[in-house]
Amino acid sequence: MALLEIKGLKTHFKTDDGWLHAVDGVDIAIDRGETVGVVGESGCGKSVTAKTVMKLIDMPPGKIVAGQVLWKGRDLVPLPPEAMQKIRAKEISIIFQEPMTSLNPVFTVGEQIAESLRLHEGLSRKDALDRAVEMLKLVRIPTPERRVTDYPHQFSGGMRQRVMIAIALACKPQLVIADEPTTALDVTIQAQILDLLQRLKDEMGMAVMLITHAMGVVAEVAQRVVVMYAGKVVEEAPVQALFAHPRHPYTQGLIRSIPRIDLDAQHKVRLEAIPGTVPKLIDPAEGCRFAARCKFAKAECTQATPPLREAAAGHRVACFFDL
């Protein structure tokens, strides 16, 4: 049994113009200890998927219209808030993109790490703070005994993201959802954080769902990759297979539109941009959502929605054609 299995998930939002189909039929499975990358551009529904798993969607305006989120076989969707509280941070935790806004400015970082330990593990204030120091040491913050009483504004962006990781890992969860954990960071700091995440994952054996828009980050960190477009999964494959043989025209376009620093000048070609823009997701019509930007699109692409089908072992694609 997969650790987490998202099945046919649809999360919609009510707007003045109609229902926004942010997540519109998503299937993702994550095994124990596995790192799965979820990639896609702004508005593809990757963050909403993560927040739905954590039940962090404001309802209303949001609504889980269909689907299941099976956590070790048990559906989280109908779970009442108190029961969800026991799973959050203890079994599944989340790291957000913005370390500036996701830490509480009026509490010390020690108190913020200790909070979930006291709540879930029933530790005393003193014991929880001792564990907070250990966690800061684990995420390699220098002089943790001193820094534990500091406030978030006394840390740099990279250090704050380390604190976020310490909070997320404090209760040793089995799954960590990292939602664009390095997007706001400079490239050398990003390298530090990715390194740290990788090392902690190896030490603690947790599964990671890494949400990002950066193909480079996915290529370095993930074992399996899920590509999302306009609220749907368009392709899913082991990382090597996805980059060696991308099957969906959107994935192909995504990979070819990135400038490559590692190729010598002779190999440099004009970037292959994907024409057009992402479709509006308010009451979308039937059919493949990428059809309007796809150079291979035929009449049938706008008549029916291509299902996610197995094109090769472990390699699934939502396209009518073998490309």
Partner: protein, 332 residues
């Protein structure tokens, strides 16, 4: 063709920047006295040839955007000289400067904040034409605006619309059309594609490359994304805490970095190919504060190769190979 064609150095430079410094005052206390300075740009020099693209890369706070703005005199430099076609930009009167702005334009990062939400696209793109009297009468202005919109890949029907009706990529095209309206020679692209999704980013990069060819433009291309800078630039300057640490043709810089900071920066870039495994140099710690930058070489506290000399003596940017300069006492 990206970045491949070398620009011949025989022609007179379009732009010369000499010893540029910008120190922002920090005020504090009851009387708001100046208590300290942020050394945003701390002695930057470079030349540019007509038709050349110079990339400025570095991490947050390295002074790359401030350098770009000082070149345009959008902010007054503290010291140093900027010569555009041999004329000193810093010594110009406001009238002369206005004439100069026709030749030098800027494209900003945030396509949401850099367009006036109350103006139509036609008014935004046409504003410069009116101010500089480059077109006479509404008819001529409109013709020119239509032509500009088509140049950047927008439809003439977009003229009557407002910025909020456009996506990020389209807004960036409007910003480019506005900059092109005055037939500039130099465009400062300040993180011009950084806020865009990759598929849209590629569209805008391709557009900038086409325009460069079509109008023989020069770009100062400021970005933190090294892959993008390498792709579009002929030469790249790497900045760290207000100084250029390395300046080289982009091919040479990426093939054989001489400064340890450049080396670490390049090794930190994730490669979108899981079969490529490269050794990564992970730098310890954060970039120090530009208020009190480290003594000697600014990079020495994080440098794996630092020696006693690096703590006391700031290395000068010196030529190590033809056209390849680095500021390091112990270069590769």
């Amino acid at each position: 063709m990206s970045a491949g064609t070398e620009v011949s150095p025989v022609s007179a430079p379009l732009l010369q920047v000499k010893g540029l410094k910008k120190h922002f005052p920090i005020r504090g206390g009851l009387l708001r006295r100046v208590v300290d300075h942020v050394h945003a740009v701390d002695g930057v020099s470079f030349d540019m040839q007509p038709g050349e693209t110079l990339g400025l890369v570095g991490e947050s706070g390295c002074g790359k955007s401030t350098t770009g703005r000082c070149v345009l005199r959008l902010i007054e430099p503290t010291a140093g000289q900027v010569l555009f076609e041999g004329r000193d930009v810093g010594a110009m009167t406001p009238q002369q400067l206005r004439g100069m702005t026709r030749d030098m334009q800027i494209i900003f990062q945030d396509p949401f904040a850099s367009l006036n939400p109350r103006m139509t696209v036609a008014a935004i793109v046409g504003e410069g034409l009116v101010i500089h009297q480059l077109a006479k009468g509404p008819r001529e202005i409109e013709d020119r605006v239509v032509q500009l919109l088509q140049t950047v890949g927008l439809s003439p029907d977009h003229m009557r619309r407002f910025p909020h009706e456009f996506s990020g990529g389209q807004r960036q095209r409007i910003g480019i059309a506005r900059a092109l309206a005055l037939n500039p020679k130099l465009l400062v692209c300040d993180e011009a594609v950084s806020a865009l999704d990759v598929s849209i980013q590629a569209q805008v990069i391709n557009l900038l490359e086409d325009l460069r060819e079509q109008f023989n433009l020069s770009y100062i291309f400021i970005a933190h994304d090294l892959s993008v800078v390498e792709h579009i630039s002929h030469r790249v300057a790497v900045m760290y805490l207000g100084r250029i640490v390395e300046l080289a043709p982009s091919r040479a810089l990426y093939a054989s970095p001489r400064h340890p900071y450049t080396e670490a920066l390049l090794s930190a870039v994730p490669i979108p190919d899981p079969t490529v495994k490269r050794p990564r140099i992970v730098l310890e710690g954060d970039v120090p504060s530009p208020i009190h930058p480290p003594s000697g070489c600014h990079f020495h506290p994080r440098c794996p190769r630092a020696q006693a000399q690096c703590r006391t003596e700031a290395p000068v940017l010196r030529e190590l190979a033809p056209g390849h300069r680095a500021a390091c006492h112990f270069p590769n």
